[in-house]
Chain length 257, copies 2
């Protein structure tokens, strides 16, 4: 199925499922929707923290269709499931936000690690969470983000165990994808970035780190979601975790050379 | 002092010292001299093993002046100290090989890690052996080289302890210098590449690996020297370890972007 076809089904609320594994090879994006009052600062915040918050496209105010990453995707209904927030707390999960739309909404589309994971696997780098059909391991850290206005906090990281002989390859491959988190930020000893127990994930699932592997840490897209919750905005919308925007551009299109 | 000025003094055998620390910013190269009978296979061997044996320039037969990496450096006397080998065994150390020269000599100039070390330090990555004024730690490994004719063996690696938070930076920086060994090939657990004791170096000096660091391993220029010894050629000449050819090109000129 082509992304445009999947989005058509999604827009009719006939596909309310996580999008992982669909339209392989195509970019999937995270969504953040804010009233324009907060949008300027949030955009600056993303620009100052591009590794955890890589902006792929910004839409609006006054518009709700993408043009760069997908041809005319309707951001009010082309995502399978949305999460609304009131005062920073989750409110509703819905498959269409047309009824909530206001002219001053700004839509932020952010890169996701699915894109570089494809490149890693194509290079023969084993990803345990993919093989074991688990969610990637994620942790809160002590790494400060650059603050802008009410947006601040600490970085969330994802962790993938990588064989010692492939760590450099993994770093080099991911560095070619700066718009989807890019290269890892830490290798080895988790305590240095404020993770006291590698087996106690803060988000996602735990996986084993074998003796010939080291834990490798990447900036994670949960970071902006967390920052948003902590900012306790009166109103915000995101995609529901795992229910992403399936784009027309390919992961390979994000590779820089 | 400019490289051409240092080479002029060296050519008169008035500077018989290791070249580390002289003409900072300029490339220093390793030398291997072989009779043409063996030169073709050695060149192929380097091309098949470019990480440990990065060829910068090949001169001869019939010529003994560089043109690419230095303007007209005379390879018979512009290196402070040479080492001759008979049947793979060290014979003499001399400061001028003019008297030994034969028309069929082929001169191989190989890249050296000094070039990427400058880039690492410029990025604020601490190199303990430099700070402690020691030689870099080097080890034999179990990593097979691609064989060509009589040239074969295992890779020698250099090890630098790097902070967990800078390992990816170190890998990315060095990957921009493929002609001087390039990116590391292994991070962490030394036993996986056949090093049983990190404190027992095979060449160079031992340095401490601190708790917030991991040992990071690079392909090393001792590899071709070792291969040469093992091939037990009737006759060969190299530079004496540490007594390098100081070139006119800058380390930065070797950076690819």
């Amino acid at each position: 199925m082509k992304p445009v076809e999947l989005r058509r089904i999604i827009s009719k609320s006939e596909f309310i499922k996580p999008t992982a594994g669909y339209c392989n090879g195509f970019v999937q994006a995270n969504l953040v929707v804010l009233p324009s009052e907060y949008a300027g600062d949030f955009e600056k915040f993303c620009e100052k923290n591009p590794k955890p918050c890589p902006l792929l496209e910004v839409v609006g105010p006054g518009k709700h269709h993408t043009s760069k990453i997908a041809k005319g995707a309707d951001l009010l209904k082309d995502i399978p499931k949305y999460q609304t927030f009131i005062d920073g707390k989750p409110d509703k999960e819905i498959s269409d936000i047309t009824d909530l739309y206001k002219e001053d909404f700004v839509f932020f589309l952010l890169g996701c690690s699915f894109s570089f994971e494809e490149a890693l696997m194509n290079s023969g780098i084993y990803l345990r969470h993919v093989e074991e059909k688990k969610n990637v391991s994620m942790y809160n850290t002590n790494i400060d983000l650059e603050s802008v206005g009410i947006f601040s906090g600490k970085m969330v990281v994802s962790m993938r165990p990588i064989k010692c002989s492939r760590i450099v390859d993994a770093a080099l491959i991911c560095s070619k994808f700066p718009s989807v988190h890019g290269a890892p930020i830490h290798v080895g000893d988790p305590s240095q970035i404020g993770i006291s127990d590698i087996n106690a994930v803060d988000y996602g699932d735990s996986v084993a780190v074998l003796p010939d592997e080291l834990p490798v840490f990447w900036p994670c897209g949960v970071t902006p979601q967390n920052v948003l919750k902590q900012a306790k905005l009166p109103f915000a919308i995101t995609h529901s975790p795992g229910y992403m925007l399936v784009c027309d551009i390919k992961n390979e299109d994000l590779r820089i050379d």
